[in-house]
Symmetry: C2
């Protein structure tokens, strides 16, 4: 089959488009999916670069589980397509079923989720014509969206769902969302709005209208020299109950400062820099919570499918590239001059 | 009356023992207490030094509310004694009642607790012959303990109680306690043990037996060069569910590293240094929670009184000084060569 293979930690040159990769076969309990579309995530880039460090050595080269990765590896976690083969134990009737993949491979509770296998990282993913996953991770979908549109959802939206669930965001609360034009950021705006929260988004000047269209009631320029003052002005004295952050970096201190006493800061990424200085006096005197969140659980994914089925979410498909141009797509992705998600499709 | 008056931010020279301070009078709704004993807390030292900074400027000079303090001020939060005067609206029958003071002056819920007045900080405290407090903050106590013993409890134990409550420590969980020989640390050992948790204490070599006597099932030397390895050895592979920290500083990263996935780190002080570097990747990939906690609520204080009445807690009275020697007592306090609490008494 055709696939893009990651040959080691490194730059885009480690991505090789090949046409002679053996077709994967569905093992017992698995299904094979003919990929319709697969979306890009920051995780793809971080994993390629080995940029996760370890808890003892922030600069060591690791994948998201902070251990070595096995190469060659086909990345691509967010997959929509149709089942074309089933392994033993899976009913033949599933062949032909249209599915969206829950990319978190684990059984058990949320402790197991922390050490799960992630499609495209610990096992091959969707930047290919075919992919295999456990049958339970391929969930039937229906409705008017294209495969490319469906592929915009899995990782970003379950990550965002879990952030909101771990921070226990309530209707009527005010949530500050950073990185609002990115995959998780735009998911946070939509999902927080759906649950009745008020969203203030931090976004680049060119993307503020889109953030408003998704439901943000106020938008602050991410290049501001005074984030605190801009947010306070935008909120007209209303306190920030929750910060949902995927950027961190130099703004971290301001984000904690903006929180009301007993406010919650939930983080699922740190594109602006993961190493931050924290004044623990701010944390304990204001009695804040800093909540780490990562990939969503199966329950979060199921909740997401419910919102999709109910037509409550707008797919944010920025651009589609052919599979062979994945390197180009990643280059476009890291430049961040788009809103929503970038998808590749194996169609010729 | 006799009292020790803090005249401004600074060193011990800012503490003045005086015999001509006007007796305070109980205002409406208040009681006046003849002080039997008052205990020392780190807050006294930090407040005297103005060492709380602000969330925008870590080095600015402030009290615990991170704002200016009004001088002269009589410090001393933890007070046991007898009511000797009541203000209007308070029944005369309370005169003569033996009481322990809940030093957190606020009404409402936990959001108000964050901006409470703290006895000895925003209003005069117990380093004096007399003190006034709202009648509801003077709670009747009985039993065999001396005033000096009772005074060991309020701030440290309600702070510890709130830490355990905010981290939702469950029976059977393993809690790592730092600063185990200090006021809050030794309170954490006792209170966590009472609720059925397993405690690993970090303490200086000279204080490990005392930590064990209080209930710690394992003790690690705080001067170790490899905290992670020592704790792992002491626990024989059992995971750390909760870290209850009042030290922070250079050990912060190791403490997060020791937590199991989805573990909780709760902090109520940072004697080892409040400015810490955090690798947010560790926080979000392990899905940790960093929980700020501060003074306990009225509910925490009531829970504490219940444990005292039930005889479940051992008072840890290290030493008693006469009031006029408060400066000496503080000097002894900061040297940390004791276990438990230091108390002053206005007896001549």
């Amino acid at each position: 089959m055709r696939a893009v293979v990651l040959t080691g930690f490194g730059g885009p040159e480690k991505l090789e488009y090949r046409e002679d990769v053996p077709d994967p076969q569905a093992s017992p309990g698995e299904v094979r999916i003919r990929v319709g579309a697969a979306a890009l995530n920051n995780t793809d880039i971080w994993t390629r670069e080995g940029a996760y460090g370890s808890s003892e050595d922030p600069s060591s080269t690791t994948g998201w589980r902070r251990e070595a990765l096995r190469f060659p590896r086909i990345q691509g976690a967010d997959i929509a397509g149709r089942i074309d083969q089933v392994g033993s134990g899976v009913p033949d009737s599933r062949i032909g079923e249209r599915v969206l993949v829950d990319p978190m491979i684990y059984t058990g509770g949320e402790e197991e989720l922390v050490v799960n296998d992630y499609v495209g990282s610990e096992r091959d993913g969707g930047f290919a014509e075919f992919v295999t996953v456990p049958a339970g991770n391929a969930l039937a979908v229906d409705g008017p969206m294209s495969d490319a549109e469906l592929a915009t959802f899995p990782t970003a939206y379950t990550t965002a769902m879990r952030m909101l669930n771990r921070a226990a965001v309530q209707p009527g609360e005010t949530v500050l969302v950073t990185g609002a034009s990115g995959g998780v950021g735009s998911a946070l705006i939509q999902l927080a709005t759906v649950r009745g929260a008020r969203v203030v988004a931090v976004a680049g000047a060119a993307k503020q209208d889109q953030a408003r269209d998704l439901g943000a009631t106020a938008v602050v320029d991410r290049h501001t020299t005074d984030l605190v003052s801009d947010v306070e002005t935008a909120l007209d004295g209303r306190p920030v109950d929750v910060v949902a952050d995927v950027v961190a970096g130099p703004a971290f201190g301001s984000l904690l400062h903006l929180l009301r006493p007993l406010g919650r800061y939930v983080v699922a990424g740190a594109m602006g820099g993961p190493l931050v200085q924290t004044d623990l006096r701010t944390v304990y005197l204001k009695q804040l919570q800093i909540i780490g969140s990562s990939f969503g659980s199966h329950e979060d994914f199921a909740q997401l499918l419910g919102h999709i089925a109910a037509g409550e979410l707008k797919p944010l498909l920025a651009q589609t590239f052919p599979l062979r141009d994945l390197g180009l797509a990643q280059q476009h992705f890291v430049e961040k001059n788009f809103f929503g998600k970038i998808v590749v499709t194996p169609d010729e």
